[in-house]
């Protein structure tokens, strides 16, 4: 049972295609492990990161998308890198880049790329990408709601060599470390990311050693072709045509009333699909702009959620997909626009518009609206240690997902393009390591939009911040509620309230920075998902369960679901069924 022959003609063995595909998956997974196990960063700890293997033409061969939105941006970054360096790529080099105008998606989402040379030629790249706590710029963490241009956000790192021929470029390293406020933390995470690339390179070399380059190459091509075939099969099932939808966001960081609308036409022609965002609003003067990589990634990962989840998410699967993003729009802003909140914008308006458009052709696959993005980051000094601390409100910001045919949405899951990635820190560990004390963290009843399939619930939380010199930056969208579909109701929109120690209460707006006095209390309602289908058609047993579990209040049971309650508050099945029949008849007769 020796290894298959590695002939130059490399006739494709269908079994070896599966085997090599699994090897690539394992390699990207091992690269991720190298990053997470030894990290000190709050972002890698929760897996705000991705790993990938690409080939010399920047084709994405395999990725481990711990966070889907970040994942599909490896090819654009590598293309920009190759364009800049051309032939100046050698064995032992390691490249770093974060820049949104060199193919990146968000300045804090920094990537390392390592070339793999085999038999004297550049063949593959291993790459790691992860959110950084701080890379420098006006505000710790990089979220500056007042930014109007890229230089007011985070230090720009166009493609650079950190290692050249296996030797660390100390000058480059020093420049990077002198710009971050937290060099120890960031330096160690850089090491972990480079380590991840090295792990990937070694395992790929072993694969090449075993099967030989021509064979590995041919079988990877076959794997990409198979993924393409799977995606085409999914698209072919859909009727040809053009389907329109829109989604908006409000408040660009400069003007609370400004509204930006994404206008989408999805065209299905045979086995190809095009997402055309021409006609979307022009770019904003503030930080909400999307850039190409982010918008592309948001579109692709929204589609992947509506097709067979077994399709490998690689270059092949993306071949039938075109995404048209007009330059100068708020989805694909021109240099030197500010864009650090663009991840959220693209999640919200691209994800929503795609779900709404596809609802017209694949109603059984789409979901109603997920929680719109809304979160805050808190930076201050922990009085117990006297040291700076930084927290993204991952514990509080989890909203619900939208209902879908056949199942309710997930509660406490987050936004669409996260897909349920990013693990929230445990509350007890949080209270030990952050100067926060929670009074409450529970599902918010009625947060999920009513529907035959109910939206998931968001969290309701209240906590006191015992820190000094504390600021909170809020970002996202608290103007729009997650949409319902096919008669389902919208979910509850996100809200945040701040109560200073002196009793002053502030309704917190997205895209603002607030200074907290000591012992201020923050109350947060994470948004609920939208409902799917007419709530009057929801199975009465499910309504009774929801009522009994307190996922819905008695008022909502009566108002939204047509329920009639017994004296003890439980659901009266017979009376409810009769009342719902009557209500449906009234709707039909137009009363």
């Amino acid at each position: 049972m020796s290894a298959p022959a590695t002939t130059a003609d490399a006739s494709v063995d269908p079994i070896l295609v599966s085997v090599i595909g699994k090897h690539l998956e394992n390699i990207t997974h091992e690269m991720g492990i190298a990053m997470t196990r030894s990290t000190s960063s709050p972002f890698f700890q929760v897996k705000d990161m991705c790993t990938a293997i690409l080939d010399e033409r920047a084709r994405l061969l395999c990725q481990k998308e711990y966070l889907p939105l970040m994942a599909y941006t490896f090819p654009t970054m590598l293309e920009a890198l190759l364009k800049f360096f051309g032939d100046d790529v050698g064995p032992g080099d390691v490249f770093i880049t974060n820049d949104v105008f060199y193919g990146g998606n968000q300045a804090q989402d920094l990537a390392f790329f390592r070339p793999l040379f085999w038999e004297g030629a550049l063949r593959y790249w291993t790459a790691t990408k992860g959110h950084q706590v701080d890379l420098g710029g006006p505000i710790l963490g990089g979220y500056n709601p007042r930014a109007r241009e890229v230089w007011q956000e985070t230090v720009r790192i166009p493609p650079l060599k950190v290692y050249e021929g296996g030797k660390l470029r100390r000058d480059v390293w020093n420049l990077l470390m002198e710009n971050t406020r937290l060099p120890r933390l960031v330096g160690r995470d850089f090491q972990a990311m480079i380590g991840g690339c090295t792990v990937g390179e070694r395992r790929l070399q072993a694969l090449l050693q075993r099967y030989g380059h021509p064979s590995v190459h041919a079988h990877i091509d076959a794997l990409l072709d198979s993924s393409e075939a799977m995606m085409r099969l999914e698209i072919e099932r859909l009727p040809d045509g053009a389907y329109q939808a829109e989604a908006s966001t409000q408040d660009d960081g400069q003007d609370k009333e400004a509204v930006y609308t994404a206008r989408l036409a999805v065209t299905i022609a045979g086995s190809s699909i095009t997402f055309d965002f021409s006609g979307s609003d022009p770019q904003a003067p503030g930080w909400i702009n999307g850039v190409y990589a982010t918008a592309f990634s948001a579109a692709v990962c929204s589609l992947f959620m509506c097709v067979d989840p077994l399709i490998p998410r690689n270059d092949g699967a993306m071949r039938p997909i075109r995404v048209l993003l007009p330059e100068g729009s708020f989805l694909n802003a021109r240099y030197p626009a500010a864009s650090v909140r663009g991840n959220f914008t693209c999640n919200d308006v691209i994800g929503d518009s795609i779900m709404k458009a596809l609802a017209q052709v694949m109603p059984e696959r789409v979901t109603a609206g997920w929680a719109r993005s809304l979160t805050g980051s808190i930076a201050g000094i922990d009085p117990r240690t006297g040291e700076k601390y930084y927290d993204v409100m991952f514990i509080s910001n989890r909203g619900g997902s939208g209902g879908t045919q056949g199942t309710d949405g997930w509660s406490y899951i987050g936004i669409l393009t996260l897909g349920g990635g990013i693990t929230v820190q445990d509350l007890e560990i949080h209270e030990r390591t952050k100067p926060h004390f929670f009074h409450e963290l529970e599902f918010a009843p009625d947060a999920g939009g009513a529907g035959r399939w109910r939206g998931g619930l968001g969290a309701h939380s209240r906590f006191t911040v015992f820190a000094r010199d504390t600021e909170i930056v809020m970002r996202g969208d608290n103007s729009n509620a997650p949409f319902g579909l096919f008669g389902g109701r919208p979910g509850r929109r996100g809200e945040c309230r701040l109560e200073q120690a002196n009793g002053e209460i502030v309704e917190v707006q997205a895209n603002e920075l607030y200074t907290l006095r000591r012992a201020a209390q923050i109350e947060f309602f994470a948004a609920g998902g939208g409902g799917f289908g007419n709530p009057l058609e929801r199975d009465l047993d499910l309504v009774a369960d929801d009522l009994r579990n307190g996922f819905i209040t008695p008022e909502a049971a009566v108002r939204d679901y047509g329920a009639v309650l017994n004296a003890d508050g439980s659901l009266n099945h017979a009376a409810s069924a009769a009342r719902r029949g009557q209500l449906r008849a009234e709707v039909k007769s137009g009363c």
Binding site: M1, P4, I33, S38, S226, M305, T404, E428, F437, F438
Partner: protein, 692 residues
């Protein structure tokens, strides 16, 4: 006339088979295997015991009268979790935090799958009852416990006909006062209820993981209590006067009473026994770094053994990953790859094997019980690796035509391959999956698998041993003499084991010198009380202290054992160095100038049990070495196709026997495939050593 013997018997109840090993005091082992009876596991136990008795020409009562120890590995807990048949229970939580269990730290496993509904928690929300009380992160009481809330919760749960209550309050790991108060109230108001307190079951920081563990304990507890209760009673009635013990997930034994009270500790009972078999084999053969791979009918368990000890984790997940178990558990990685794993093609034409299994019913197509989908066993039959007439000790007839048909219809046709090539593809894919599992337990933890020997057990494992080892580059393989009853064997080589933990926050320097010995003293007191209750004399007790450490600011800890006397003195001269070097080994770097912090104190309490060493036999002179009992046509690779391969009868092979591959060695319940470039040798204990 049978001479009086003292016997030790182990029983491992698996999904498909129940395995028995009976060891007499000369070290001779008798292996029996019967089909499991999931609906009545105790009946299968007695059926097997009767078979053992019959083979020895004894009535059951005499067999049991001469048995000193009975060890049980059970899938009772796992199955209750998988099938949702545990106890109806309530959960008392800190008011304002009753949803943390269902929030699952905000994640789901399949990022793109919007059609799978969210998992239902083991306790629905209306049975999660808020209690007014609050302790902060420093252990200070902020809001006292409100007794009326407990009384009200108790009334609600009785009305709802619950039979168990889990109590998990915030920060109870560092101050259990409120949980104890609530327990005292519940015991008074509702003495019949099964009680599970987070501060007793899993007193470590992490409210989600601790709650989940406490709930699992209450969920499996009543069931386990009934099972061990009935089994003990019936055994006593049948004449058993020895000691019965239950295998825990940590690789040690526990009394039946504690198995009932702390059922969560026994959930991975069976797989842990397999890992302990690897440990025993490591001791016997002197190969003390190895990876065990135990491939049964439905799944494969993989565990790494370093310096003679299996790795322990506190991050296990159960029920297809849905439920977190935060107890020291042997770090066993289980994948859906077994003899019954089903081969299938996705829409892109890629071949997959598992995780779905044909199980015992209908079983693989070749069982002839109505199974139509091709499995790994079918592929092995088609390739000639399994001799149909010898399967399951010759007690089960296999239909090789049905195996061929299933593979042709479901795989070969669509791929444009002949049946043998398709079957070989199925084997290659399942081997790749198993190799990935081996990488996961090794590379994942920073070990190079090539430094380890691969110990392969389970009924299906020895056929795949060479291919999996080659895939990873592992040079040495050991197939134990009784590979097919690997886990049952493991139980005969274990001790009583109890883990104690206390959360402790402080730097690893002199400033902790006072508080640490006090906390360790308290853990020692608990340990001695436990071993006293187990009836272990002082001379048979062993206490092993360790610390969970990390660099200040890190999120993952490493457990570092303490040198003798350090736990008493509070001075740890060598511990920092040991931590740095362990970190370097696992993650590739150490930061010597960084401060180290203590997260938990741990104490492992071991109560030694008697063991019987297997007798070593001298090698025979070459002239008496066995010759093959026949030849079989076996498909070894796609270039060579079928080739005639010598088939040896394992029962006739003696220590010193050596052969070069290709070869098949048939044992009653398993077959070893020795690949072309491997050599096999029988060691003095009857184990098979293979190398390249």
């Amino acid at each position: 006339m049978v001479p009086p013997m003292s016997l030790r018997i182990s029983v491992d109840t698996g999904g498909t088979f129940t395995d028995f090993v009976c060891l007499d005091d000369s070290g001779e082992a008798q292996v029996t295997k019967i089909l499991s009876l999931p609906e009545n596991p105790a009946a299968a136990v007695f059926a097997g015991l009767r078979q053992i008795a019959a083979a020895r020409g004894l009535p059951l009562s005499e067999l049991l009268a001469s048995t000193t120890n009975l060890f049980f590995g059970t899938t009772l807990g796992t199955n209750a979790v998988l099938t949702g048949t545990g106890a109806r229970l309530g959960l008392l939580t800190t008011k304002g935090f009753r949803d943390l269990l269902e929030m699952r730290r905000g994640t789901r496993d399949h990022l793109y799958d919007n059609k799978t509904p969210p998992p239902s928690p083991l306790v629905p929300r209306y049975l999660r009852l808020p209690i007014t009380e609050r302790v902060d992160a420093a252990g200070e009481v902020i809001i006292p416990l409100r007794a009326e809330d407990v009384a009200q919760a108790c009334a609600t749960l009785r009305r709802e006909e619950a039979e168990a209550v889990a109590v998990a309050f915030l920060h109870a790991y560092c101050n259990p006062k409120h949980e104890r108060e609530a327990a005292a109230l519940l015991a008074r108001l509702w003495p019949q209820a099964f009680l599970s307190l987070s501060s007793e079951v899993a007193p470590a920081i992490g409210i989600y993981e601790r709650t989940s563990t406490t709930v699992l304990n209450a969920y499996c507890g009543p069931l386990m209590q009934r099972f061990v209760g009935r089994l003990q009673e019936e055994l006593r009635g049948a004449g058993f006067g020895g000691s019965a013990l239950v295998m825990q997930s940590n690789g040690g034994m526990i009394s039946p009473a504690d198995a009932g009270r702390f059922a969560a500790r026994t959930i991975l009972s069976g797989p842990a026994a397999g890992a302990m078999a690897g440990r025993a084999l490591a001791r016997q053969t002197g190969i003390d770094t190895c990876i065990t791979l135990d491939m049964g009918g439905t799944s494969t368990d993989v565990c790494l053994i370093e310096a003679g000890e299996p790795i322990v984790t506190t991050e296990a997940r159960l029920g297809a990953g849905r439920y977190r178990l935060n107890l020291p558990t042997l770090d066993i990685h289980t994948i859906g790859a077994g003899g019954g794993s089903i081969a299938w093609l996705d829409r892109g034409g890629l071949l997959h094997v598992g995780p779905q299994s044909a199980g015992a019913q209908p079983g693989p197509a070749c069982y002839g019980r109505g199974g139509r989908r091709p499995t790994v066993t079918d592929a092995n039959v088609l390739l000639g690796c399994i001799a149909p007439e010898r399967f399951f000790g010759g007690r089960m007839q296999l239909d090789s035509q049905a195996a061929r048909r299933a593979i042709e219809e479901e795989v070969a046709g669509a791929l444009g391959l002949d049946a043998a090539a398709a079957a070989f593809g199925i084997i290659t894919v399942v081997n790749t999956n198993m190799a990935a599992a081996v990488r996961e337990v090794s590379l994942d933890r920073g070990y190079d698998p090539r430094d380890f020997a691969l110990v392969v057990g389970g009924g299906a494992g020895p056929l795949h041993a060479c291919a999996v080892a080659r895939e990873i580059g592992i040079p040495r393989i050991v197939v134990p003499r009784d590979a097919s009853a690997f886990s049952a064997h493991g139980m005969l080589a274990t001790d009583l084991r109890h883990d104690f933990v206390a959360t402790f926050t402080g730097p690893l320097d002199g400033s902790s010198a006072k508080a640490l010995p006090q906390t360790f003293a308290e853990l020692r007191r608990q340990a001695h009380a436990q071993l006293e209750a187990d009836g272990v004399p002082e001379s048979g007790r062993q206490l092993v202290p360790s610390l969970d450490l990390r660099y200040k600011g890190q999120y993952h800890e490493l457990t570092v054992p303490l040198a003798a006397g350090d736990a008493e003195s509070g001075a740890f001269p060598a511990t920092a160095g040991a931590f740095h070097s362990r970190h370097e080994q696992r993650y590739g770097y150490a930061v010597k100038e960084d401060a180290i912090e203590i997260v938990n104190l741990r104490l492992l309490a071991i109560g030694c049990l008697p063991k019987t060493a297997a007798p070593a036999k001298a090698a025979r002179a070459p002239s008496t070495l066995a010759s093959p009992s026949g030849m079989r046509a076996v498909y070894l690779d796609r270039r060579g196709g079928f080739r005639e391969v010598p088939l040896y009868d394992g029962a006739l092979l003696h220590p010193g026997f050596t052969a070069n591959g290709p070869a098949l060695i048939a044992q009653p319940f398993t077959t070893i495939l020795v690949a072309v470039d491997y050599t096999v040798q029988v060691d003095p204990y009857g184990n098979y050593l293979l190398w390249r």
